[in-house]
């Protein structure tokens, strides 16, 4: 291993400090004995215990997970189909317009998306609750899935699908048996992306949620407005832990797969 020069070391330290000091402070204070957030009074896990007793937070967490699972699944199905048609559908009328339109929500201010969804739900008389949040999250995360999947489809060898047709598949079977298994990694990462987007969305959820259903980010935000409590710190620490474990697992799995594939290819060359 090469040693870093002092300049590089300082730059790296500064960068990482900038990124992680806020989170580190949050984590440290979540284990604070004192009720006063900014005064250290010894190590304790009491806020975690209290959090587990807090009905409102637990409900919000449950709603958030439900919304994230449903909306990301729905967004993945719709986004994958849209990407498939846009990449594979040939040059149909208005194709350029459609592919531009599917990416537009990426740059649309969330406030506008949230507001227009709110107006729509009021207009059609849909009571705001879990369903409306799911629909809203599907709307804005679908285009992310579509971007991820279509970038995979562009590099997909078309002759694989033709081979499937040639060997007796209908178009639907070719998609199910050949295309989908091959693009699965892109579909899965699209799902994960949609899931995280839904998990931490505050703006759109606050437009489309009702008294019956509150998501965790809304709950945290409104609680913080009344003052930061150590319970919030504990909750946030748990969320950080979950995300960290998820990211590390995903990267380890990918790394393992790449390593295995390379090893197998080396063996093939040798044999």
């Amino acid at each position: 291993m090469k040693r870093l020069s002092w300049f590089n070391a300082v730059s790296l330290t500064l960068g990482f400090a900038f990124l992680y000091i806020p989170m580190v402070i949050l984590v440290i204070f979540s284990f604070n004995e004192s009720k006063l957030v900014t005064v250290w009074a010894g190590f304790s896990t009491r806020w975690y215990a209290e959090l587990m007793q807090n009905e409102a937070f637990l409900n919000a967490a449950w709603v958030t997970i439900k919304v994230a699972v449903f909306s990301s699944t729905l967004a993945t199905v719709l986004g994958t189909l849209a990407a498939y048609v846009l990449v594979r559908g040939g040059r149909f009328m208005g194709r350029t317009l459609f592919s531009g339109m599917i990416y537009a929500p990426l740059v649309m201010p969330e406030v506008i998306t949230g507001l227009s969804l709110l107006l729509l739900f009021i207009g059609i008389g849909l009571d705001r609750g879990v369903l409306t949040i799911v629909l809203a999250h599907t709307t804005f995360s679908m285009c992310y899935v579509s971007v991820v999947v279509s970038s995979r489809l562009v590099s997909f060898d078309r002759s694989l699908e033709e081979a499937a047709l040639d060997l007796g598949c209908s178009a639907a079977e070719a998609f199910r048996l050949v295309t989908l298994p091959i693009i699965a990694p892109a579909v899965i990462s699209g799902w994960l992306l949609a899931f995280t987007l839904s998990l931490d969305d505050l703006v759109i959820a606050s437009f489309t949620s009702g008294p019956a259903a509150t998501t965790l980010p809304i709950k945290i935000f409104s609680a913080v407005r009344l003052g930061v409590s150590p319970e919030i710190n504990a909750l946030s620490t748990i969320m950080i832990a979950v995300v960290t474990v998820g990211v590390i697992t995903a990267s380890l799995v990918t790394k393992h797969q790449v390593a295995r594939q390379r090893r197998e290819e080396m063996e093939a060359v040798r044999s």
Partner: protein, 375 residues
């Protein structure tokens, strides 16, 4: 015609397996296939040969069902196949990129088409094993496509496309991705498998050597048209046009004017002050017609002295010698300025070579060595 020779195209009774009838295919403004009519017979190994963009791949894709003709009809065993989708045709294709399913093992790749057919499990097992044996892949059945070498992948693609026992197998540049040595071995393997299975093969290639080696008949294409369909030897010995002569192998083209001297003999005047060339050629030409004499380099003999009894002899000066190990090609400049290539087998060591640069030599060939081609 004897029974032992396979020449269904010469048999007026024979019914073609595939019949293209005035087929035209246009992509927008571009005409890929231009009013083309051909017959392909059962058990034939038919090669479509031409430069890229000549329409050979389009022709094949129409047979597979990935393209539909703009005009005209295609018949497979007497049945118009236009309304039959690719997955219902008794035609299979081996793709240039092999298109092996990367998520399936070799075994599953070969079984893929059989499963779609709804074949019984035991029969699938048996058929896949048969295919693995045929292509010598038994050891690799459990591997994934990325775990085997290029040559093995090529054989998997072949096994997979043959598994359903199609009436017709289409091969799109099947050996393009292999290196030369492996390609030559595989060509013989292909011929062997074609003979064993009795399947009709249509191969698309831009490699004329490959077409000549494997095919029973070669169709030379250019700009969406078939220029000549014939057996490899006839394509080589008696091309019907300058295009075919030039496309297949190496050729010397001498421009001149034809004058018939008999039923199939001509005297071609080619340069003032030099005697006309004697040619016996199957293509009939009128008196005074502009034409080219096409003659292969290996049919031109090179000598130090003027051969006494040669039909044609011209004098020239050696400009260049290309030494290829087994043969040498001499580039000889004639007094007219034209350069003629003459090829000789190097039966002696190079040190004993008779000629060197700047030597004055005599080139000679017989009347039957070349053919006359109209402009």
């Amino acid at each position: 015609m004897t029974a032992s020779v396979f020449e269904p195209w010469n048999d007026p009774e024979a019914k073609p397996l595939i019949h293209f009838q005035n087929v035209t295919k246009r992509f927008g403004e571009f005409t890929a296939i231009d009013n083309l009519t051909i017959d392909i017979y059962e058990r034939e190994f038919y090669a479509l040969l031409g430069p890229s963009g000549c329409g050979k791949t389009t022709l094949m894709r129409m047979l597979a069902g990935f393209e539909t003709p703009t005009e005209g009809k295609i018949f497979l065993a007497g049945q118009d196949i236009a309304p039959v989708p690719p997955n219902k045709r008794a035609v299979n294709m081996m793709f240039q990129s092999y298109a092996l399913f990367p998520h399936l093992s070799i075994w599953e790749n070969i079984a893929f088409g059989l499963k779609r057919e709804g074949m019984a499990k035991a029969d699938i097992q048996q058929r896949v094993e048969e295919m693995l044996r045929l292509t010598r892949l038994e050891k690799f059945a459990r591997r994934k496509p990325h775990q085997i070498s290029g040559g093995q992948r090529q054989r998997v693609a072949l096994a997979r496309s043959l598994a359903k026992a199609p009436k017709l197998l289409l091969l799109d540049e099947p050996l393009g991705a292999l290196d030369k040595k492996l390609r030559q071995d595989t060509q013989f393997e292909l011929m062997d498998i074609q003979e064993k299975t009795g399947t009709t093969f249509v191969i698309v290639t831009h490699d004329q050597e490959e077409a000549m080696t494997v095919a029973s008949r070669v169709a030379v294409m250019d700009h969406g048209k078939i220029i000549q369909v014939a057996t490899p030897d006839r394509i080589y010995e008696t091309p019907n046009s300058v295009y075919v002569a030039d496309f297949i192998g190496d050729v010397n083209l001498i421009e001149g004017t034809a004058r018939p001297t008999g039923s199939d003999t001509y005297a071609m005047s080619w340069h003032e002050g030099l005697p006309p060339l004697k040619v016996q050629s199957p293509n009939s030409l009128s008196d005074g017609q502009k034409c080219h004499l096409a003659i292969r380099p290996e049919k031109v003999a090179i000598n130090a002295e003027k051969p006494a009894d040669a039909d044609n002899a011209v004098q020239g000066r050696i400009l260049d010698i290309a030494y290829l190990g087994n043969i040498s090609t001499y580039h000889v400049e004639l007094p007219t300025g034209a350069v003629i290539k003459a090829q000789t087998a190097n039966t002696r060591r190079i040190a004993r070579r008779a000629f060197t640069w700047e030597d004055t030599v005599w080139l000679s060939w017989t009347a039957t060595a070349g053919v006359l081609l109209a402009e």
